[in-house]
């Protein structure tokens, strides 16, 4: 067992470094209102939150991370621009691997700034990069925004775009949708039958449950409309695939994406943003030819991130989760801001892993 006091000390040291980098220290409660916040997390964190309740406040959960409560705090009464740091324990139920901790420390850093998102991305990333440079970790980066732009630019119905965008974080379902919208997989039999019947509700039998006839007939009309839509062309599918397969050093990946953008102009603004970010990262002294980029990075684990994403991993220790990870989460501020929004980027380091890997100072 790693010494808890060593981890606590490392967490405090990391937070002090974040403070020295200009962040204001903040605290959040361990107990968070479950109902509102749970909905914002991806399925995985949601299923792993410890939920409890008290008679006065109703359902509460032990915070599974800091980002959501910090965003909430900022959206309620933060001044702009803002930069915060925190450290403390987060709690996540482990269901499969007894070796993984169900409570562990995080030390984090978040920037809320609408002036220059690329510079904020670079500031967060280079700070993490430098703080972890003595540990010879492998850095991975990606950009969810490019795939989102690629989806946005498809010549297809808005409904199909919404469906694809919703599943950017679930590669398998995303692929299944692309295959169906492009006509590569046939329409399921049950769907084909349904579309042939004039009044499918006539022989539906008794209705039970909350979902009502209106919702069903609305969906049937949506399906009828969708059946008339043209398939996504194989050319466009090929382009999406080529965006997804971009991987290599950051400078080469940028070139590859620029090439794709020539025939897929919809991703140009997102690729420009990547270029600006890389320039800023390079200006902070990081060699782009040695910085990995993967267009599909972060699609499975990075729940609420919707732009730049990054993670730092111990080489040859695929058994360990990321030592540090983070990214841009503009949409989350929109969801929590009730009409307000602010571009935001941040990340966390896990002091426990830093100590375990011998990187504590």
């Amino acid at each position: 067992m790693t010494d808890l006091s060593a981890i606590r000390a490392e967490a405090a040291r990391l937070r002090a470094e974040f403070e020295a980098a200009g962040a204001e220290p903040v605290e959040t409660s361990v107990l968070q209102p479950a109902e509102v916040l749970l909905d914002l997390y991806g399925e995985d964190i949601r299923a792993r939150a410890y939920v409890t309740s008290d008679a006065l406040r109703g359902e509460q959960m032990l915070r599974p991370d800091f980002t959501v409560p910090v965003v909430q705090m900022h959206m309620e009464h933060g001044a702009e621009p803002a930069c915060y740091t925190y450290s403390g324990k987060v709690f996540r139920r482990q269901e499969d691997d007894p070796a993984r901790a169900s409570e562990y420390f995080q030390a984090g850093f978040e920037i809320f700034d609408r002036q220059n998102p690329a510079a904020a991305d670079a500031r967060v990333f280079s700070l993490f990069y430098n703080m972890l440079s003595h540990m010879s970790l492998r850095a991975s980066t990606g950009d969810i925004g490019i795939l989102m732009a690629a989806v946005e630019g498809l010549k297809t119905t808005d409904r199909r775009k919404v469906a694809l965008r919703r599943h950017i974080w679930r590669p398998k379902r995303f692929r299944a949708l692309i295959d169906r919208f492009s006509g590569r997989t046939p329409v399921p039999e049950s769907r084909a039958e349904l579309l042939q019947i004039d009044d499918p509700l006539a022989c539906a039998g008794p209705m039970i449950g909350l979902r009502n006839w209106d919702e069903i007939s609305h969906r049937i009309s949506v399906l009828r409309e969708d059946a008339k839509a043209n398939p996504i062309s194989s050319e466009e599918v090929r382009l999406i695939d080529s965006v997804l397969s971009v991987q290599g050093s950051s400078d080469r990946s940028l070139e590859a994406l620029r090439d794709i953008a020539v025939v897929m102009p919809s991703i140009s603004p997102a690729v420009d943003r990547l270029a600006t970010r890389l320039e800023a990262i390079s200006a902070s002294g990081i060699d782009l030819s040695k910085l990995d980029f993967e267009a599909s990075y972060g699609r499975t684990q990075m729940e609420y991130y919707d732009g730049f994403v990054f993670g730092f991993y111990a080489e040859n220790r695929s058994d360990l989760p990321a030592v540090a990870s983070g990214g841009r989460y503009d949409a989350l501020t929109r969801q929590l801001g009730r009409g307000k929004e602010i571009p935001a980027v941040g990340g966390v380091i896990r002091p426990g892993l830093v100590v375990a890997l011998g990187g504590a100072r």
Binding site: D39, E43, D44, R46, A47, Q94, E95, D96, D97, P98, A163, R166, H167, R170, P171, K172, R173, F174, A176, R180, P188, E189, S190, R191, L194, P200, L201, A204, G205, P206, M207, I208, G209, L210, R211, E215, I216, H218, R219, I220, L223
Partner: protein, 231 residues
């Protein structure tokens, strides 16, 4: 010490298990009155029968309190994290068949596949302001299955019994439960999804991997394997 074998303490599962062992020359039975949960083993030396509720057997196996156990594949996979590192499947016993399936109201004529369920979940969340509820007691299995298939915007609600009734009672919109014939589902105006088979389960003999056997137990295990014509 003696080799301990955990067997369901009542009902068809118990009877069928006794039958299965009996056909192979190992007689298992309950001793004393019907209410007393103790048993006997005849035909092989140094094997002890422990009667347990089928639901407890996975944990007893994982903890090493029984060396062998008969229970459903569904219960082992639901109750044990990384089950394959904790127990080993020795033999499928060819009874106690049950499928864990996802089911929705039969009136949902627009829903036939997981793909539909996912789309309906998204719309449901928009219309009702909360995530579509799936009632089940198999949280781990159902969550893993839905994650694997990329279904989103649902929530699992716990239901430890009469799960088929939850939709009518409006405490859930869909269910995931064990069925063998589908009669109960139909009677409750539910239908299964075409690709909604989460797991095929049957009664299975498992062996605990975590606790090593001592010499006596090993001897009994070798003899038992011979009699049961295993491996």
């Amino acid at each position: 010490m003696s080799l301990k074998i955990g067997v369901p303490s009542k009902g068809r599962l118990m009877e069928k298990t006794f039958e299965w062992f009996g056909e192979r020359g190992v007689e298992l039975g309950r001793s004393g009155s019907d209410r007393e949960y103790s048993g006997f083993v005849q035909g092989v030396e140094n094997v002890e029968l422990i009667l347990l509720s089928a639901g407890e057997i996975p944990r007893e196996l994982a903890a090493g309190r029984v060396h062998l156990g008969v229970t459903g594949t569904d219960l082992v996979r639901e109750k044990l994290g990384r089950w394959e590192t904790q127990v080993e499947e020795i033999a499928e016993l060819q009874f106690g068949f049950a499928d864990l399936v996802l089911a929705v109201p039969a009136a949902w004529v627009d829903v036939g596949t997981l793909d539909d369920l996912d789309a309906v979940s998204a719309a449901f969340r928009l219309n009702h302001g909360f995530r579509l509820r799936i009632a089940t007691k198999y949280h781990r299995l159902v969550r893993d299955f839905l994650r694997e298939n990329g279904v989103a915007d649902y929530q699992l609600v716990d239901s430890q019994g009469a799960t088929e009734g939850t939709v009518k009672n409006e405490t859930a919109e869909a269910i995931a439960d064990i069925t063998s014939t589908g009669d109960t589902l139909r009677a409750n105006h539910l239908k299964t999804l075409e690709d909604g088979l989460v797991l095929r389960s049957q009664a299975t003999l498992f062996r605990c991997l975590s606790t090593p056997m001592d010499l006596d137990e090993k001897t009994a295990w070798v003899k038992l394997q011979e009699m049961l014509a295993l491996g």
